[in-house]
Symmetry: C2
Subunit: 222 residues, 2 copies
DNA sequence: ACAAATTTTTAGACCAGTCTAAATTTTTAA
DNA sequence: TTAAAAATTTAGACTGGTCTAAAAATTTGT
């Protein structure tokens, strides 16, 4: 039973939404917002996905991925993130340019391709944005990262990823001289607006708003 | 104006057919045979392509690519062949496994991607089957190769490509120990069935039917 | 030259994926 | 507890791409 590009995109959206809002069930409007389709269109597609046993769906009650749907979604995510690594590591794209291209490449169908790509890239565990890449069996390496905005004052940290993938945020981060793996020390903290002053790699000083900090993932320096 | 995957496949088919049959005009049935669609389906599509000024089309008279159509077709071919090089050179696929995957990858839309890929691969001039790769401006490097079946007796040649891309032919060639760039000397020639005995790299001896030889491209050793 | 064969187009249908407008169900909150 | 608001589904329509069956145009062979 063939799964179309469009269906793959719905499964990926449902997967992401079901993790974003901790609750298990994802609503029609959430999907409609995310994919920028009308709610009526989403309802149609949900019926088709349920027909194919990729989701469980009861009228007006929201949806959940079945095991089959989950596996399919994770495979698409694996492909997306591996292609992003390829684009950045091998083709020298910057991290703000790769998402749109990976949106296309994630739909290429060939199990052999994706395993050979994984080998070629050295079986990376994280993509250029710090997102974990599921292995061939669908397992994610557990991230022990958390938001910089929740870190202890004066903490010494390592930049592990970002949660906002927009071009403007990614460019702002690069232009500020920040990249994954950098050391980061919180030097000062403003109680009024939760902005902070950080020191990067013991060299540069940078001021971050709470909004920016909330989209930076860090882990404790071990 | 967006050109769909399907439209790209039609343009590529028309391009190939117009070169295969020297005549300029390509017929509905030729396209229908090649793409394994019904003639009625092809007629529909021809109207759409004509609407978009990608082909010129007069009822019952066959079709020709416009300049715009030609450029589009060549770009798809460029992408197809570059991805084939990637799959063989970087991911270590064998030359009989890459065509189907490249059929999918050729439709990825990103000019920057294709130019970065070209750089990454070292701007190759030929794909794994010896087919020339058009450059970014659409120019093919001229091949001075010809069919082994038309070579002079006792000639000393270099294997430059193949014209049959089927898995079975490609595997037969590899299994026989032949690959692009190998030296080849015609040792013996059978007038009855045009079969030949060749020596490869001054080492192995191989018998080739006329059918096999006709699908091997060679160039003169310089 | 013209009837038969072949090629091509037209007509009408279907599916996937989308939309708008209207109907229905669920949720909210007075 | 019930009316209003919000969310969701249904109904009906459209496009791109495909098909089969039938009609029309072209080509072929005697
Ligand atoms: Mn996608
Ligand atoms: Mn990513
Ligand atoms: Mn194609
Ligand atoms: Mn090729």
């Amino acid at each position: 039973m063939e799964i179309s590009f469009t269906e793959e995109n719905y499964l990926k959206a449902i997967y992401a939404l079901s993790h974003f809002y901790e609750a298990g069930e994802v609503t029609t409007n959430q999907i409609s917002d995310r994919l920028k389709n009308k709610a009526a269109t989403v309802t149609d597609m949900l019926k088709r996905l349920a027909e194919k046993k990729l989701i469980s769906y009861k009228r007006y009650q929201g949806v959940k991925l079945t095991e089959k749907g989950r596996i399919t979604a994770i495979k698409v995510i694996r492909k997306h993130r591996l292609w992003e690594v390829f684009l950045v590591e091998k083709l020298k794209f910057s991290w703000d340019e790769v998402h749109e291209i990976a949106e296309q490449m994630e739909h290429i169908r060939s199990d052999e391709l994706i395993e050979k790509l994984d080998d070629f890239l050295g079986k990376p565990k994280f993509d250029p944005h710090g997102d974990p890449i599921p292995d061939a069996s669908g397992k994610f390496s557990t991230q022990k990262s958390f938001s910089l905005s929740l870190a202890n004052r004066k903490a010494s940290l390592i930049i592990a990823g970002v949660t906002d993938h927009s071009k403007s945020f990614l460019q702002y981060i690069s232009n500020s001289g920040l990249k994954l793996g950098d050391n980061l020390k919180i030097e000062d903290w403003n109680d009024y607006d939760q902005s902070m002053k950080i020191k990067i790699n013991n060299k540069h000083i940078l001021f971050l708003s709470n909004k920016a900090a909330s989209n930076i993932l860090v882990e404790n320096k071990k």
